[in-house]
Amino acid sequence: MARLRGRGYASVNYPTGMNLGGDPSQALIHATTTGTFVVSLSSVDLGQGLKTVVAQCAAETLGLPMENILVDTADTDTGPHCMGTFASRGTHRVGNAVIMAAAEAREVMLAVAAEELEVDAGDLETDGTGYIQVKGAQERRIHITDLALAAHFTHGRTISGRGMFLKEKNDPVPETGEMDPDSCQAHACTVAVVEVDDETGVVEVLEMHNAYEIGRALNPAMVAQQVEGGAWMGMSHALFEATEPYYPARDHGPRDFTEYLMPGAADIPAYHNAILERPAGNGPFGAKGIGEMTANAPIPAIANAIFDACGVRLDTMPFTPERVLRGLDELRGYHD
């Protein structure tokens, strides 16, 4: 009896946005008199960090610090339309809409600052800490808090902007499948290292190496969270999960988390990840959006690693100990 080690590879791509387009999202942004900008949306943050990443997009575009951005979202009475959080569309669609809204608001912000400072708006820049200043004469500046007050009480201006992103709906040609389904494609190659116990059939994933090309890492910590969270889910799909373990039979369906197993902390492999950036022309600051794809490459990488380890080709998910053992039996010429 032995623990057999193997290595497997998989390389994939993944499309951004609702398939075939037609999935708009809007953003509105306005400055309160405190100089805080409120980004109004109806998009939902599922815990993946949408609110954080769109706040970054707003801050970068306005040239203001993160502390000056509030995101008010997920209410259909107060926020403009968003198609929803799915299809790896949040960062791309909502990010683009927020950038557009923030760019329009920035224009107003600079116009009002130009009046306050008595210069041409084209001569102004933001310093990223909250000041709007004259290029080359940084002592001539105004803080956004003072500017927002002046805009409201002196100039009678709202500092606001509107943004929207829509990829026009495309219809496939029924005969050939000709279509324009995506906005951009992100890429990944995963290498899984596994150990197969040839007595119990249990597969342990020891290492996972993930190389991702994602356009732009808007927030590197959240990229790591996406890559590793997805790798965990892929491993879970590969080795554990099925609501109908003997599909297409309907029985033996798990009812709770004691019957529906997923990897625990001790099952998590060593992750080694690397990011490449090839910015997408239509992405927010070049980002493509990798919300969904990170679960994909690990599954075949693990299947291929199991074959490399013990010679069993598993063409049916999940790769349970029972399936591994039946495969080993077949290799050894045993039959039920």
């Binding site: 590879y9 290498v191 910590a221 609501t243 075949p300």
Partner: protein, 461 residues
Amino acid sequence: MRYKTNPIDRTYFPDEPAPDFNVIGSVVQRSDALGHVTGRSSFFEDLSPPGLLHLKAHRSTRHHARLATVDTSEALAVPGVVRVLTHADIPNNVFTPLKLIGVQPDDEPVLAEGKVRYLGEPICAVVAETEAAAQEGAARVRVGYEELPAVFDVEEALAEGAPIVNEYHGHNYFTYEGHHCRRIRFGDVEAAFAAADHVFEWRYQSAPIEHAPTETTGCVVVPQPDGRLRIHSDTQACFFTLDNTALILGTPFNRLRIVGGTVGGGFGGKVDVAVEPVACVAAMLTGQPVKYVYSRYEEMQVSSPRAAERIYIKDAVTADGRIIGRKITLYVDAGAYSRHSPYGTTKAAAHLPGPYSIPNVWADCHCVFTNRTPSSAMRGFGVTIGDFALESQMDRIARALGMDPLRLRLRNAYRDGDLKAHRKVAEGTALVEVIQKAAEMVGHELPEEYRRMSSMDGGGR
């Protein structure tokens, strides 16, 4: 605070200008992190308005059956039960969520009408003053079934004489503009098979997979003094839920307000419009707030899973490892109703034949109805299981040819300028580079000619 980040390697795309940002590209703490780790985030279930009623469904115990009798008298007699809803209470009972983007026909009842098509299908909704009374009431609904033959296998469902699962379609497949499946036709695969040195054909299969969110699907509907309904929901798509719910209720859209917010995991399951319509009807009929939340069992066995898929891939391959033809037959198990599966099947077709430049591609992607819990959207659906099949296939081909699996992939990798099987020209590709990077990470040696490959040249095939 220290954060785990992954190194960004800029050597693979040296011509890209160096990023110059203040906030983009830097670590910013996730806005919900502190609330989550200190247990202070609030979720829709933290709301308990006065007079809150609870809703529980009585569900089918059969896979496929005609409903001969539905007797709610014992349920109504349970102390605390205030109302039992049936299909007759739902204004527009039959719907399909993707009608918002033009998908037809309406094929799913909010509450079963005349028959049930899967185990667990909701038949009645019991509304009560306590959760326990709602559960007790749901258990006391008496249903007389006339069992019908059921079909569970996708290929059996498409065979001659199979029982019809969903009469709204009239056959066990979704129709794509007159075709029984979504098709890809690119080049001539049969000629490729004739010209190939090797032909490889294998089959792949997956089972349904649960989204397993920490927070189950649910909502609390609160009638407002002005007659509107405020719906607190963990939906992934506020307006999508609002629009579908309004169509089912037959009310003007502006009579509803969705308040979403912190969601305890979604993964696609919360794009279904599963709980809001019936909870709204209950709130309208009682004039009281109503809460409808799936139990863990309902989340596991009744809410939509990721579809099971069966995939056959047949490849024409030359002796030096070029894939010159790929023929794919995909069966997506939609279960009893469409939900998001017709969309997912088209997305699967658009993904074929994977990230490779293959001059001849033929695909038939079937969206099949069976007497099973309807599947629906789930993280990467249409692609995730396809990638399992495609990348297992690549490994098998490499081994059959005695080739390095990474060199086989690099030789076939799509590049800028290549025409994909759906006739869109590839741009912004980087498959070559992620393979090269992964090889470098694990010390997998590649010969010079493979290390020099680039997504930016050699395309246009």
